[in-house]
């Protein structure tokens, strides 16, 4: 019987996973996701794609808000910058899509240096308000810079072709998103267990103490902003490609709230939480619709007319209820379940 987690070396403490079965199940999940496009119809597949794209963005926000503890209300600003960077480079200047993806990361990262600068002086609420202001300013900048961005008309984006493989079909595009999601997951997990990640968490837990321990707050806070914006920007580019059209209206402010809702529902500061939260939040409106449509057709009609409002209402409810009753999020539920499963019939 397993009686506890005994970690005797430093290597065990920072290992990627603490038990071999996790590897097995992860591989099974990845294989299932690779096979999923063949088994699912187009409607269900669109949810898989959206989840994979959203996971990338949620993991990006998780580095900033979850690990480093800096609240951002303006993450949609990085999403939209990334999407536009990709669209301008690839659709307007016919660059290689890989250059486009690189630009989709680098441009928001540069923008984040500007937003991040006030964070060196501000904490908590004030930083949240600064990032909120940024997301509105960036929209106006995009609308005004007509020569580069076509203003309110937006830019059409083609599905890319990489390494001789065309990602034009929905199936292939899902695989592309899966690739990005897995790469991002490994990147954030590795950041978390490295020196940099520990510095982020130290800043979150107590910044004065972190500074006393020799962590350069300015450098690490900016690094958190840059990393987070880079990843979020790539997620924005993927979303732009998925919509096949990049415009300011395609990235409403609600996406910032959705990202925070994902982190809260999943459990702040955990990569697993970001993944679980994404699955729940993306499927929540659809699941609610299904449940209600069982009762009456009238409800179904209401859901199709007020889809956007319903979505934001559900996000709001999810945020409030999770913070009130399960502040540790889904990852907390999962840990409780796992402990009960391992120790049953003992309490602990």
């Amino acid at each position: 019987m397993r009686t506890g987690d005994y970690k005797q070396t430093y290597g065990e403490l920072v290992a990627l996973v603490d038990s071999p079965p996790v590897w097995l199940w992860s591989v099974v999940l990845v294989l299932a996701l690779i096979g999923a496009p063949y088994a699912l119809n187009a409607y269900a597949l669109s949810f898989v794609t959206i989840i994979l794209i959203t996971v990338v963005g949620a993991l990006g926000l998780n580095i900033l808000t979850g690990y480093t503890g800096l609240i951002s209300l303006g993450h949609v600003g990085f999403l939209v910058t990334g999407a536009y960077a990709y669209a301008i480079l690839v659709s307007k200047y016919q660059m290689h899509p890989l250059v486009g993806f690189l630009g989709a990361g680098v441009v928001p990262a540069l923008a984040s240096l500007i937003v991040g600068a006030p964070s060196l002086r501000l904490k908590g609420l004030y930083l949240a308000i600064t990032t909120l202001a940024f997301s509105f300013i960036i929209n106006t900048v995009i609308l005004e810079a007509r020569t580069l961005t076509n203003g309110a008309r937006g830019i059409a984006v083609q599905r890319p072709e990489l390494f001789g493989i065309s990602f034009d079909s929905d199936v292939a595009f899902t695989w592309l998103c899966l690739g990005f999601a897995i790469a991002t997951l490994f990147a954030t997990l590795n950041i978390r267990r490295s020196r940099v990640g520990r510095a982020f968490v130290a800043i979150r837990d107590n910044d004065t103490a972190a500074r006393v321990m020799g962590i350069n707050l300015h450098a690490y806070k900016l690094l958190a902003f840059v990393t987070s914006a880079f990843i979020t920007g790539i997620s924005g580019a993927l979303y732009g490609i998925y919509l096949s059209f990049v415009s300011v209206e395609g990235f409403p402010f609600l996406l910032s709230i959705e990202a925070l809702a994902i982190l809260i529902v999943g459990g702040l500061g955990s990569a697993l939480g970001a993944v679980l939260g994404t699955v729940l939040i993306v499927l929540l409106p659809e699941a609610t619709r299904l449940v209600f449509s069982l009762f009456s057709a009238q409800m179904d009609a209401l859901f199709s007319t007020g889809a956007q409002e319903l979505k934001s209402m559900l996000y709001g409810l999810a945020i409030i209820l999770f913070l009130r009753f399960q502040p540790r999020g889904l990852v907390g539920v999962w840990h409780d379940l796992r402990r009960t499963w391992v120790h049953w019939p003992l309490r602990y």
Binding site: T130, T140, E309, P327
Partner: protein, 290 residues
Amino acid sequence: MQYFTQLVISGLAIGAIYGLIAMGFAVIYKSTGLVNFAQGEMTMIVAYIAWTISTTVSGNLLVVTIAAIIAAVVLGLVVERLVMRPMLGEPLFATVMVTIGLAVILRSSINFIWDAYPHGLDVGFGRDIVRVGTIGVRTGQIAVIATLLVLLAAIWAFFRYSKFGVAMRAVAADDRTALLMGISAPRVHAAAWAASSVIAGIAGVFFAISYDLSPAMFQLGLKAFPATILGGLDAVLGSGVGGLLIGITENLAGGYFGSGMKEVAGFLMIIVVLMIRPFGIFGDRDIERV
């Protein structure tokens, strides 16, 4: 010069609305230490309730005003009791996120309870144009500026002289000591939410009288952020004055640099103010810097 004066006067009128909402922010921040991100949405709800009363019960100005104030008090108390009080003692991040959750719920409830079309609130007052020299001003705009000034004086007196006002300041300064002195913090919080809701609701009703009601009205709350940051989050009077300044700035920016600039002038101002003087012009609480 005529153009400039016109811009300043209409800026003062919209600025007075921002100022009222910003005072709502500051009243809550002063007594509970958190920013209520649902302020704009509460403004909008109160204005919609006032509109419903004006169309169904009576369009009399007095009836609508009293009903709107009662509705605002009830809304503030309900929100405080149901949503905010259970979060007492939780970390700042959690409580602020709860107000954001509340904001999106209230915002989307408009479309379910009322509808998505713009409406005018007609109380037989506010849309007539008065000539001051060569400049035309709506009576509603004059009334809102006057209301802001009266409320500024009233709130100053309330915090300075009334027993409850002093209790609120005590809770804001140090809630534990205040508790030891026999002040009930939950009651102070409830009063702050009700007061903030009433002040913001008045702004909403005036906005609906001078302009139009629409589900996009919650953006007034976002526009009032710069005002309260400029004036100081903990300065109720400063926020009111900040609103006037932001209203003028925004209008001048829009008048001389185009409508895009008008949208972001306030937000640019937030970033500048936070970089130079994070506690605002009239705020006195220093922000902890690391």
